[in-house]
Amino acid sequence: MSLISTLARLEAVSTGRAQPAATVRHRHLGDRPLVLVPLITAGEAGAPLGALVGTDRDAPRLLAVPQPRDRDLRFAFLAELAGVVLPYVDSYAESVEAAERTETDPETGKRVKVEVDLCADAPQLIVPSRAGIDLVRLLGRSMRFRRTAEQDPEAPYPAPPRVPLLGRWLTHFGERARVPGSSLLLAMTDLLGRHWVTGQSTLEDQHLGALLAWIDPPEGVTGAEAALRAELERDEQGQLLCPPAGPATDPAFDNKLLAPAIERYDRARTALAAAEDGLEADDRLGALTAAEREIRDLVLSRTRPTWDAVWRGLDLLRELPEGARVEERWTRDRWSFTGHRDRLLAGEPPQPRRDDAVTAANKLATREREQARLEAQEALDDPLVMAGRRLSGEAFAGEVTDVVMAYSDGKRPSPRPLVTVRTDDRPQLGERTKVYRSLGGKPQAAEFVADEEDGAYVVLRVLDKMGRGKEPEPGSVPEKGDRVCFTLFEHEQRGGAKLPDPEETPWTHGGPPGEAALEPADPVTEEDVL
């Protein structure tokens, strides 16, 4: 955390309201995001209890598992979830535009441009909290190796038809969410925390209700009071008025409300199974339906406040103008989406449990590159982020006080003007340090020549983007009186060294992965159901 955001945090404490941490929106928000508010059962890995899901804030789809330990009910939940998520994903897979991509020609080994399809837009999943992102990954992992009855007629407990496919998509979303700056799968707490700072610690910011209370407190209440209420206030039954955003539920809810309701459901189900004639069965079916309805109502009561909070957060975020370079990063998300769509169409097997060495190294390299890209782009898009970089000496801004024309030595002298900038910043410049400024969205490089008056004046030599002629193109050299901002970091990221193909993996890294064997599904044991 930079001193600037610390200061903002203290101001938030003192004013009782969250302070801006950004002046533009740094993440893409689609027109029709799919919001998912899941709940899970405590103590059990990947056992959903219920969810609210949908693209219409007024009409969420409620899914509930009346007995989370029952495998059939769990599959029914996942099938229903697939029934909502997959049509949404598919609706983006069809509309494509032509794009170009450089590929290595397998015969000549040369880099050539090929025309490919790029999906015109991509789906976007919003979950309330970071734990929600982990759950998406976990659900993806639990489903993608399952076999349907069609794939494997012998499989015990076959999965419903579209469930493995949903698993592969959720895995992709979860994997993509690890790439810095991507927007395919986002957590609302992260989004709000990126754009506002509150008067509480970042740990407490993980509570969506409290975070929103700081940003947008109700009339006549300070953010601090509203946040405290969201965190702790309970009704006469001892239930939190603002239930946790999940996926974990409040233990008091589990013990006082949910456990008795599930017990009633179990009893009604046993009773129905034991019914001896049709009339009795009808009655008991009624009791079972009532018990199920009760659990659905409980799930709704715990997810609806979070659902509304997520949409409220989206409203607040949409009020911010989108950063200039957000669109470019979203295009990368579209490529990622298109790539996964193509892999599915090509009939490739599900993502493996563990990546091979080359894939893993590539993923890491991508994340590092995207992290650097994100940091550079956010600073260029947003003066408040740039202020942090200026404070740390990674950038400086000021007014041009003098421009002296100079030329390079060489057969064809090129313009190398010397520009003097007056600045209050204290950049960490060394001899011939390269600095960059944004010129029409492209980086222009300059190098440090000297400083005068103890760093108050910085002399730079502009190096490029001035055209081919002897005289620089108009507008390509700063003029006296211009405000300029130079950064010490590069604006565009170069790709790292190319890694070998997976077949060429050296023995030090496990050797070639060999034939891609179909990964077996998780063994099904009786113990799945406790």
């Binding site: 930079s2 404490v13 740990l203 702790l232 003066p383 202020a387 406790l530």
Partner: protein
């Protein structure tokens, strides 16, 4: 049993008075110990835990109830899993210990599983020590101690600990076993949870090492406590056990150092005003005053570890302490410790401009104002 010290009796009496009349002491579990070691500077937590005060009840009496609780679903599942792992005389558990930690030994068959029941924590501790001594006389035999009880001296008062299991190997070495119900998914588990389990196991290892030291005699050296513990978790999405050896040398060293650093409880107790009592029966004002008489060092991390955290947080916020916003925030601000102090320094109303922290603050405030102004235009 070296625990009841000569001067310990006076201290025990003093601590019992702090708890209040007829309030039984609450045992210090390993989780509390590990959390205590994570915030060794907090005198309030040290004395309350040392005196065995029920902090949950205390927090409720103060009007800032703690938010800890365990879902009965998690509890049921955890117990069912532990029972499954230990079923059949611990056959599966011993198989895992053999496979993951001691492959060169004889495979465990006919392991001893002694009965450890006794009355009271002292009795159970003595019983455990007796069985460990007994096991030391039988080389070549596997012994499984199911829920043994160990005592550890914490800042001058004994804390009783109950590991899930301790295994004595045929070569006489001891292994701590931790059974947890979070899943081991494709060979990896949540690092935060594994870390917590490792810190907990480290405390058990320290306690066992004290027992081992007592068993040492002229003819036989002290048994070795292994520094790799066995973590047993459900595999993937099933409840079949999977195990992994976890090296806890680092956690052991850290915990040992922190425990040694703990301000001695006697010193804190001696500094308290005469007649201080933490009984939840007392009126709120009296109780608040008693709690306030011991200094606390609140940080947001307390929220996940200490029952009194909400109370301390409210106090810390009232005082405007910057640590309320996190330890890193405090570290950035040099000698400035309250919110108003920092803001005044940033506005240029107070503070020494020669102080680098103040100069940096003013610079940050100016840059922030400039950026926000630029955005508004």
């Amino acid at each position: 049993m070296p625990l009841p010290r000569t001067r310990g009796t006076a201290l025990r009496q003093q601590l019992a008075e702090l708890r209040g009349p007829d309030v039984p002491a609450k045992a210090l579990d390993a989780r509390a110990l590990a959390a205590l070691a994570a915030n060794p500077g907090c005198a309030r937590r040290a004395i309350l835990d040392g005196a065995g005060v029920n902090k949950t009840a205390l927090a409720s009496a103060l009007g800032s109830p703690s938010a800890f609780g365990q879902s009965q679903f998690a509890l049921t599942r955890g117990n069912a899993f532990e029972a499954k792992v230990k079923a059949d005389g611990g056959a599966e558990l011993l198989r895992l210990v053999h496979e993951k930690l001691d492959r060169s030994a004889e495979p465990p068959a006919d392991a001893r599983v002694p009965d450890l029941t006794a009355s009271g924590p002292q009795g159970r501790t003595a019983r455990t020590e007796l069985e460990l001594r007994e096991a030391a006389t039988r080389p070549g035999v596997w012994t499984l101690l199911d829920h043994p009880m160990l005592a550890l001296d914490v800042a001058g008062s004994p804390a009783f600990l109950e590991p899930d299991a301790v295994v004595v190997h045929p070569d006489g070495t001891w292994t701590v076993v931790e059974i947890k119900s979070f899943p081991l998914l494709d060979g990896s588990a949540d690092p935060a949870k594994v870390g917590a389990a490792a810190r907990q196991a480290a405390v058990y290892v320290l306690a066992l090492e004290e027992v081992a030291a007592r068993l040492a005699s002229e003819e036989s050296p002290a048994p070795r406590v292994r520094h790799r513990v066995l973590l047993v978790c459900p595999r993937d999405f099933s409840n079949l056990p999977a195990a992994s050896a976890v090296d806890i040398r680092k956690q052991r060293a850290v915990t040992a150092r922190q425990l040694a650093r703990l301000t001695r409880i006697e010193d804190i107790a001696d500094a308290l005003p005469e007649g201080t009592c933490f009984s939840p029966e007392l009126p709120v004002e009296e109780l608040t005053a008693a709690v306030e008489s011991v200094p606390a060092t609140y940080a947001p991390e307390c929220l996940s570890a200490c029952e009194l955290a909400f109370h301390c947080r409210a106090r810390s916020r009232e005082e405007g302490a910057v640590t309320t916003l996190g330890r890193p925030v405090r570290a950035e601000l040099g000698g400035l410790t309250t919110v108003e102090e920092v803001l005044a320094a940033a506005r240029g109303e107070a503070g020494d401009p020669g102080d680098p922290a103040v100069a940096a603050l003013r610079r940050a405030a100016a840059l922030r104002a400039e950026a926000l102004e630029a955005a508004c235009r």
